[in-house]
Structure formats: C-alpha cells, structure tokens
Homo-oligomer: 94 residues x 5
C-alpha cells in the first residue's frame, strides 16, 4: 500500500520545506560580512601599514557573524539526514 | 493503521516547518555582528594601538547581538528533539 | 496505479519548494559583496597606489561572505540530486 | 485517465513555485551592485583621472556579487528544464 | 469531463504563482539602481565638469545591477509562454 500519502511522507515532505527555510538565515551573515569586507578594504586603503591588524579584526568579527548561518545549516542537515521528527513518529505509532 | 495522516503526523510535520522558520531570526545577528566587525576593523585601522580594547568591545557587543539567533536555535531544537506539542496531544487523546 | 498522489510524490514536490527557498539565502552575499565592491572602488579612487592591498582585502572578505550562499546552494543540490528524505521514506515503507 | 492530479503533476507544479522562489535571490546582487555603481560614480566624480582603476575594482566586486544570483538562476533552470525530481519519481514508480 | 481539476491545470496554476514570485527579484535592481542614480546626481552636482564620466560609470554599474532582475523576468516569461513543465507532463502522460 505505498500509493497513499501517509504520516511519514507528510513529515518528510515538510522537513524539505523546513530545511529550505532554515537556510534563509544565510542572508544575515552575507550582508554583515560583506559590510565588514567593505570597511576592511576602506581601512586598508587609508592605513596600508595596519593591514594585518585590520584584516585580523575583520575576520574575527566575520567568524562571529557566521555563527547564525551555521545554526541554520545545522538545523537543515538534521532535518535532512538525521530527522528526529520521523523517529518520534515511528516510536509513537509503534 | 500507519497508512493515514493522523494528528501526530500533522503536528510533527508542522514542527519541521516551524523549526526552519525559527532559524530565519539568524538574519539579524548576521547583519548586526558584521556591522560591528566592519566598524571594529575601521577603528583598529585608525588606532592600531587600541586594538585589544576595540576588539573586546566589539566581541562584547556581538555576544549581545547573538542572543536572538540563539533563541531561534533553542526553539528549533525544542521542536525537533523535545517536542512539547506532541506530548500535549498524546495526553489529550489519552 | 501511477495516477494518484502518493507519499513519494509529496516528498519530491516539497523538495522542489525547499530547494527554491534555500536559494533565497543568496540575497545576503549579493548585498554584502556589492557593498564591499562599492567601498573598494571608493578606496581605490582615493589611494590608487594601494589598489592591490584594497582589492585583496575586499576579495578576502567577499569570500567569507559567500559561504552562506554556498550553504544554501549545497542544501538545494542535495534536495534535487541526492534527496535523503525520499531514501528515508523508501526504507521506512520497505 | 489524464483528468486527475497525479504525483507527476504535483512535482512539476511545485517545481514552478520552487523556480520562482529561487529567483528571489536576485534581490541581493541588484541592491549590492547598485550600491557599487553609486560609489563608483561618486569616486569617478572626485578623481576622474582614476576612472579606469575605479571601474575595474567596481566590476570585479560586482562579478563576485553576481554569483549567488546565478546560483538561483541555475537552480531554477534545472527545475524547469532538467528536473531531477520527476526523474527520481519516474524511476521509483517504475 | 473538463469540469475537474486535472494535473495540467495544477501545473499551469502553480506556474502563475512561480512567475509572480520570480518578479520579486525586481526589488533589488530597483533599490540599487536608485541608489546609483542618487549618488550620480550628487556627484554631478559637485563636479558638473565630470558629468559624462560620472554618468558613464553610473550606467555601466546600473546595467550590471539590472541582470538579476532580467533573470527573474526570463524565468517568468518561460513559465508563461513556453512552459517546459507542462510539456514534460504531456510527454509523461503520453
């Protein structure tokens, strides 16, 4: 009887949508890190002798800004490859 | 009777969408922390001797900005791994 | 009996939507890298002699900003070409 | 029996929505490259003698900013013209 | 029996939604090119003698910013006038 939509299919289908939605978080680091890149380029243009300090600060800040993008990626990966909701459902229906 | 969509499946399926939506909050910290990184790089370029103070202030502010991204992550994790809605439902239907 | 909507079709259909949603992450790098390009052009206009340092910093920062856009692309490619949800489903229904 | 909604129709229909969603990524390069164009025009106004350096940096940065918009276009084109999900489905239902 | 919703109707209906979604990309070039126009006007106001250089740079950058808006338009036109999904479907159902 595989020709019907059952609960397992609905959970997995909505997990595909959920994974896609989670990636939208990537908008933030993209904007933020680009701003840091622009300010870094500007600062290096003004004080080329401070380049290594500027770049180090820029990259440190960009690493912090990356975190929420990675949170989104982790949630998407969990939904795709180790879906805990389908496990819960399989346990519930025995 | 596992070939039908029941209430448990619907709750878990919508939890996957909810978890994905919650991660969209990550846009904010991504933009904000990137702005802080850019201003930090700019300040270090102007006063390289103040680098440690600049970086410390930047990271302190970025930590505060991270909070809402973490709130989103916590809600997603709860929906995925310790779903209280399905527990409520199971209690309701006995 | 291929004239009905079954669970496999629903999962694959929602994967198409999920893949599209994941690409929305590309808004971020687009804005951010464009900002970096603008600031880079401005800095080169002011200090043409620092052009190589400015461009190097701009591209380094832009590479970091690209990451979340690539995360979105990877999730979309996984959903389209190596869909783990349909595999999970086929295993579940045996 | 072509007068019913079957699984193939659902997958293709959702692919149309997915392709449209993927194009939303174009918001980013549009804003970013426009910012670069504005800053480039400003810099050329101030230092017309540096025009070629300014324009070259602007276009290099804009090319990087274009990438995520092109990722979205590629995913849309795949969904429209070489849909891997419908192939997967046709293989599954034999 | 043309008074029922069949697969062809669903694909064409969702193609209308997809075409509309694709046009949302137009937000980006609209904002970006407007910013470029503003900066261009500002620069010409300050250095009227550099008008032709400023305008040329502005239009070059704006042309680049237009691209993702055109991608969205192309995808919408394809969905509306040369829908490949409905062709795929008609081939599949023979």
């Amino acid at each position: 009887m595989e020709n019907q939509i059952d609960g397992r299919a609905l959970i997995l289908a909505c997990s595909a949508i959920g994974a896609g939605l989670a990636m939208i978080a990537g908008i933030g680091p993209g904007i933020g890190q680009g701003y840091a890149a622009g300010k870094g380029a500007e600062a290096v243009g003004r004080q080329p002798e401070a380049q290594s300090d500027v770049v180090r600060t820029m990259l440190l800040g960009a690493a912090v800004a990356e975190t929420t993008g990675i949170y989104g990626l982790i949630v998407a990966i969990i939904l795709l490859f180790a879906n805990p909701l389908i496990s819960t459902y399989m346990n519930l229906i025995g």
